[in-house]
């Protein structure tokens, strides 16, 4: 694994379609709870499907419309494309 793959990056900066593992989020408790309920829990795999504001991310089988401000405060660790 390269150094880049273990450094958390912002979810909004993730390459489209590339899987990443959820690392941390510096967001308010309400948004965090809702995202957890939608499946964004520790170590879950997430993909960015569409950039923009709002953007679309996929957690497991759930597609979520997400404000860019939130996507910029969620940190993920990119995974190799075929890893999951």
């Amino acid at each position: 694994m390269t150094n880049r793959s273990v450094t958390p990056i912002r979810l909004c900066d993730l390459e489209i379609g590339r899987p990443a593992r959820f690392h941390d989020a510096t967001i308010d408790a309400e948004a965090r709870d809702l995202l957890r309920a939608l499946g964004l829990t520790a170590f879950s795999i997430v993909r960015l499907c569409k950039r923009g504001d709002p953007c679309i991310v996929q957690v497991r089988s759930t597609r979520i419309g997400l404000s860019r401000s939130l996507a910029g405060a969620i940190f993920v660790i990119p995974q190799p494309s075929g890893a999951v």
């Binding site: 809702l34 499946g39 829990t41 709002p54 089988s61 597609r63 419309g65 997400l66 404000s67 939130l70």
Partner: protein, 662 residues
């Protein structure tokens, strides 16, 4: 947490109560409609604004079941109003009785996430049946789940289901029968979301499934490329909305005319059979007129909710909220506010009620405060009357003015939202977190039942109030009785002269009726009230008659046309159609006490602006108070909208007068 869910063991001594529970967008309502059909009623959970549907499942030769459709929720741990209510219901701490059996509906295409709620429910003692819905979609996406393995792993019946087609209902009913009265064995289940998530992934794997689909949902991905695109998505949104409104006006027009015609005939029939006097007037003008004034909006409300339900079922509404989020956010509104504002085009009442889907209280409050600015169908007769009055011989301009009313209303809503966000409701809308459900074929049955439910909700909320208002208005305008005025007596005396042609007798009698009706209005309580409030509206160009029209229409806007018709001396039926040339001519020819016309172009434009912006609807205020839980918001809404309307109408009237348009 799941492990804290301890309730008393179920003892079935009454009609079995089966609760449907599940994540949002799992087909819970579709299953409910399959089981109960039209035998359902929608109400709120006592003391809350969260709606609950209760229906009866009839079983031939066997005892019936009560089916409760609980609010959709992602987990019991989640701190939202829905989760709180469900927790209370399951604990038996709610006014609603606790269920005897839980049917947890899970989306087979998203099993892992749905299992979190299943895990929480399995920790409680209530018997559980798992209904694995949308198994057809899961199969198409290469997701193979062994329901037998899943059932063995969970220790509860797991029934594959395609609720939209009614497949699997029989086995589901049998499974409910089997578990009824059983005490669920306690299972060592993990507590905490992370642990439950790991457990859910492990359960899915043990049932031969995967947390990720074998084949991507290409239909959803392809459609989202277009429907959520900033440009293409906006164009599609405008097309969809254009089509929706065209359908609404094109298809609702005929039933609306039929309702108006039927009640007009009914009013005439009553007039024929009842002797002239207060009773006949009360029945035909007060009661029948009031019922007609309520029912006339039903076709638009039913059609709008039918179409919204279809759009919601397809998954498009979430995309519309997504596309609108950026635009709405500029004005301090969340993308979620799109649905209430759309619904308000039929009626503000269901519009305000649908704001419940907005998660943040601040966002919900702002949406409720501005929703009544949206032009509802009750404003239509007033718009028709005043735009035709303004541009009688120029229909194109009248049409333009009509459309401008809608734009002005929407502009006021967005502008006010921005103002509220910077003043009394400070803050920014909550950043979007919105599940985008899989695109699906909509259910016609669900759409029809939704339309029916909303129609009854409207009738319950608005019908009683509007009918009561009409009866009160009839009383205010009918009493005290004014003695026959000399002018009317002279006309009748002339009509009774022998040798008069029949046409002349009829014309003289009609004129006598008109003169007497006008005198009655002037001398009635409504007339006195109009004169009392006339100074408030004089700067807007209104005389006492127009002031009476505004006063009566404060209770319900649509009363304006009939009130003006009564004041114009044309009789007091509520079934008066603004498109009726006779009504239009009579109102246009109304004169003030000094003989000048009531409706000058400046007055008409001022009244039009006033009606676009004013809070002229008592039922809306009642719903605002109920939905916000505080009288102060209803009072603020009334004060704010009335001020905006008065100031705007003042500016329009005075500007036009200064420009020489009077």
């Amino acid at each position: 947490m799941a492990t804290s869910l301890a309730v008393a063991a179920p003892v079935v001594t009454r009609t079995l109560r089966v609760a449907l529970i599940g994540n949002p967008n799992t087909g819970k309502t579709t299953l409910f409609n399959r089981l109960c059909g039209a035998r359902a009623k929608t109400s709120n959970f006592p003391g809350t604004t969260t709606s609950m549907r209760l229906g009866r499942f009839r079983r031939a030769g066997l005892s019936d079941w009560d089916i409760v459709d609980l609010p959709g929720l992602y987990g019991l741990y989640f701190e939202g109003p829905e989760a709180r209510i469900v927790r209370d219901v399951l604990h038996g701490d709610h006014a609603e009785p606790a269920p005897d059996v839980l049917v947890v509906i899970s989306d087979a295409t998203n099993l892992s996430r749905n299992l979190i709620l299943v895990g929480e429910l399995l920790a409680g003692p209530l018997p559980v049946v798992m209904a694995l819905n949308m198994t057809d979609l899961a199969a198409r996406r290469g997701l193979t789940i062994s329901t037998a393995a899943l059932s063995e792993r969970l220790g509860v019946p797991v029934i594959p289901l395609v609720a939209s087609k009614g497949e699997g209902i029989g086995p589901l009913v049998e499974a409910i029968d089997r578990v009824t009265g059983q005490r669920q064995p306690r299972r060592p289940l993990p507590s905490g979301l992370e642990a439950l998530t790991a457990w859910a992934d492990e359960v899915v794997a043990s049932a031969g499934g995967s947390t990720l689909p074998a084949a991507p949902d290409t239909l959803t991905e392809r459609l989202d490329l277009v429907l959520t695109h900033p440009v293409a998505g906006t164009l599609v949104f405008l097309l969809v909305m254009g089509g929706l409104f065209w359908t609404l006006f094109a298809f609702a027009a005929l039933p609306m005319q039929l309702i108006e015609y039927t009640f007009a005939q009914l009013g005439r029939l009553v007039s024929m059979f009842l002797p002239p006097g207060p009773v006949a007037s009360l029945v035909s003008d007060g009661v029948i007129g009031g019922i007609a004034g309520t029912l006339v909006f039903l076709p638009q409300i039913c059609l709008l909710f039918f179409l919204i339900s279809l759009l919601e079922d397809t998954g498009y509404l979430a995309r519309a909220a997504f596309v609108n989020d950026r635009f709405f956010r500029r004005f301090g509104l969340p993308g979620h506010a799109f649905v209430p504002l759309l619904t308000a085009h039929a009626c503000a009442l269901p519009g305000i009620m649908s704001s419940r889907l907005i998660p943040s209280r601040r966002d919900r409050l702002v949406t409720i405060m501005v929703t009544p600015f949206i032009s509802c169908s009750a404003r239509l007769p007033v718009y028709v009357l005043l735009t035709t009055m303004l541009f009688a011989s120029r229909p194109a301009l009248a049409g333009f003015a009509f459309a401008a009313c809608y734009v002005l209303g929407a502009g006021a809503a967005f502008g006010s939202a921005a103002l509220f966000g910077r003043t009394v409701m400070r803050g920014k809308p909550r950043p979007m977190v919105l599940e985008l459900p899989t695109y699906k074929r909509p259910s016609l049955r669900t759409a029809l039942l939704t339309a029916k439910d909303q129609a009854f909700a409207f009738l319950r909320t608005a019908g009683t109030v509007i009918v009561a208002i009409c009866v009160v208005m009839w009383w205010l305008s009918a009493y005290p009785r004014v003695a026959t005025v000399p002018a009317a007596a002279a006309l009748r005396a002339e009509a009774s002269q022998p040798g008069q042609p029949a046409e002349r007798v009829q014309a003289l009698t009609s004129e006598a009726d008109r003169v007497q009706a006008k005198a009655q209005q002037a001398g009635s309580l409504a007339g006195h009230l109009g004169r009392g409030i006339e100074p408030v509206f004089r700067p807007l160009g209104y005389d006492w008659q127009l002031s009476v029209g505004l006063l009566t229409s404060f209770l319900a806007r649509e009363v304006f046309v009939s009130t003006m018709s009564v004041l114009a001396g044309g009789g007091g039926g509520r079934h008066i159609d603004a498109k009726d040339e006779g009504v239009m001519v009579r109102i246009r020819q109304m004169s003030r006490d000094n003989g000048s016309p009531v409706f000058t172009p400046a007055t008409s434009a001022s009244a039009l602006v006033f009606f676009v912006l004013a809070m002229q609807c008592l039922p809306t205020l009642a719903v605002t108070r109920r939905e916000t839980g505080a009288l102060k918001y209803a009072a603020l809404q009334l004060a704010y909208m009335s001020t905006v309307a008065w100031v705007s109408a003042f500016i329009v009237f005075q500007s036009l007068r200064a420009l020489g348009v009077s």
